[in-house]
Amino acid sequence: MAVNLGPFQAAEGAGPGRRTFLKTLGIGAVAASGIPLLSACTGGSGPAPGASSKSLTFGSGSSDEVPRAAYKAVTDAFTKKSGFDVVTNVVPHNDFQNKINSYLQGSPDESFTWFAGYRMQYYAEKGLLAPVDDVWEKIGGNFSDAIKKASTGPDGKMYLVPNYNYPWGFFYRKSFWAEKGYSVPATFDELTTLAAKMKADGIIPIGFADKDGWPAMGTFDYINMRLNGYQFHIDLTAHKESWDQKKVSDVFDTWKALLPFQDPAALGQTWQDAAKALEAKKTGMYLLGSFVTQQFTDPAVLADIDFFPFPEIAMEGTDAVEAPIDGLLLSKKGGENQAARDYLAFMGTPEGQDAYAAVDTSNIATAKGADTSKYSALNKKCADTIANAKYISQFLDRDALPAMANNVMIPALQSFIKDGSVDVKNLEAQAKSLYAAQ
């Protein structure tokens, strides 16, 4: 952004480099003791509260090319409308997520990108975020109840201003399926039958990639919700339900029927690799979020992509959809800057979301009244799926304690993919210990 840095902001701008360096040092020293020490050092150097501030800082973890340009479009539109400058700090998204603890305790930007679900509620509960009920008074009418609920903290106050979400489902190439005579399965049995047919035709039925560990959680979540229902998913991830019970082992048993049809090379490839395999018609379908379409740069391929929800298994049809919501939060310090509140309010309007969606077309705007005229047929289908869903889940690693998702479920799911075995007793033992530590 072309922003004139005043002397104060210039000093601010110089800050992060030094602080990041110090933090890295602290991390390098084996002990975690560095973290509170360093946060104590950096605590005082945050932006001074100024109600008349003409600018705000915005930390963005959207570092990929398309989302990055999309947020730039939003900040530009906001600056044009309000006259406030937005200083954006873009951080590679993995780093951004990994360093969120020290980031929020150090001197975070006033507004920043984050997720709905447990991942947001946890920091809200710890008092590291500023509630934005006043903003929601202005923008509340733009959102459905399901989304409003997902943006609420554990204390009943509003924290998140949603930008977009994206549904998870099976993506496939229409032309390929038409050529082979495949049809969309409505039930799990139909899905396995179809997969067996594809396997006989010499293609890998279901694309799969789990080198990064998290994509397999989508399969787990869907089988869990289709078997045991949305509420069980929420209770399980919040550890109100035990992992050591038949309902959980049933999920893995059901998954075992699908495992032979999923790409056996899953553990060595990333979702980008798997997306390429789908594009090349090496795999028949691929269960992922709609962000998969970011990989299809050829418009002809993109137009050929279609989507169907995870088929029905047992109890609730296809009522629940996994559609993680991304949006903006205010840090505690950001709560004192009216410009930052205005920026969040802008993000919650159809106007702000249109600015984003004009650049990043792989997601679905959450605000009612956002421009859907430019939606592709696929986007419309995604939007309908979300709009018609009774329940919106956020994904295992957003609904559960991060330590549970990252330290326990990633190795457990990877070893399940490897040999089809899982020790639910051990999952429960680990969950007990980790949830107790919070």
Partner: protein
């Protein structure tokens, strides 16, 4: 020296030995006088000297305390607590629960221990001897020796990210060089070098060897240059062949370097981290203690108690070679 001088020659020692001792006895008062004079001189330090000395000793001590001892002790302390890493008031005592957790309930822990041992064996039996071999070969006055040295040493200087990319080019399942050479690229038989948990630890260790051998090579090259050429000459005059000269004469003469290399190899295998981390962050068959420490201490999945307990386990294991090294070093000083 003075003690021997005061004692009379022992009855069973020969006349020559006794004579020599008497000789030293005569010399000793003069030497003692000289040292006393010297030490008086040393004690007369000016104010400035004291300040300079104070800074030179104090500053490193302070840095050592602040960046080594404090974190180490804090880490040991935290390993007996439960803490979410946010507010100091949230620290709760947990006894030995974290240690019970990692040894009984944490599935990656024991594979990580095994992998660290495997890593050590591989570096010690393959990478280090390879480095020694390279050093010996390059020590022969072959043409372009400097160029080879640079080439073999380059991996040591490369950044983590670059290493990841380089090895990806070799090991990639569909387009990697290795599967291409094996003729399996693009077929279902293609080996998934990074994804298959039966082979990825070996793939990672070969990548580690590629770095470690260069490092060992440079150290041994310096060691070989330091060996007195007269020793080789004497050996060849005595009729030793090249192999005998090396193993019986040159290699034992490099004892100080050998000890350093043993310690480096052990420590490298304990802190092995970067290569597995760029491959898949140390999951799926690539578990290593260091990667588990990072996983549990840094990032969203932060569980400080468990991470600290893992770090303490790593610390205790690392102490073994360090203590060994210190005993050897100080033992030698006493001998001298």
């Amino acid at each position: 020296m003075s003690t021997t001088a005061e004692k009379p020659a022992s009855p069973n020692s020969g006349p020559t030995a006794g004579g020599a001792q008497r000789g030293t006895a005569h010399a000793s008062p003069a030497t003692a006088g000289r040292t006393r004079k010297k030490s008086r001189k040393v004690r007369r330090l000016s104010r400035r000297d004291k300040i300079v000395l104070g800074i030179m000793v104090g500053l490193p001590t302070l840095i050592q305390l602040l960046f080594v001892w404090l974190p180490t002790l804090a880490s040991i302390g935290l390993s007996f607590t439960r803490w979410n890493g946010l507010d100091l008031a949230d620290i709760k005592s947990a006894g030995t629960e974290n240690y019970e957790f990692i040894s009984q309930n944490y599935p990656p822990f024991w594979p990580a221990m095994q992998h660290n041992v495997l890593w050590l064996a591989f570096l010690a039996l393959i990478a280090t001897p390879l480095g020694l071999l390279l050093a010996v070969l390059l020590d022969q006055k072959i043409r372009g020796s400097k160029i080879y040295q640079s080439i073999f040493f380059t991996p040591v200087m490369l950044s983590l990210a670059l290493i990841g990319i380089i090895w990806q080019l070799f090991y990639n399942r569909d387009s990697g060089l290795l599967n291409f050479l094996l003729g399996t690229a693009g077929t279902p038989q293609a080996v998934d070098w990074f994804g298959d948990s039966n082979v990825n630890i070996w793939a990672a260790m070969i990548a580690a060897t590629w770095r470690h051998a260069g490092y060992v090579m440079i150290l041994y090259l310096a060691g070989l240059k330091g060996v007195d050429p007269a020793l080789r000459e004497a050996a060849s005059i005595d009729g030793a062949n090249a192999v005998q000269t090396f193993f019986r004469v040159v290699f034992p003469a490099m004892r100080p370097v050998n000890i350093v290399i043993v310690v480096i190899t052990i420590i490298e295998s304990l802190r092995a981290f970067d290569i597995v981390y760029v491959i898949n962050r140390g999951t799926n068959g690539l578990e290593l203690l260091s990667a588990l420490v990072i996983q549990n201490l840094i990032g969203e999945g932060q569980v400080i108690g468990v991470g600290s307990a893992l770090a303490v386990v790593l610390l205790v294991i690392s102490l073994v070679p360090i203590v060994f090294y210190l005993i050897r070093t100080f033992g030698k000083e006493k001998e001298a």
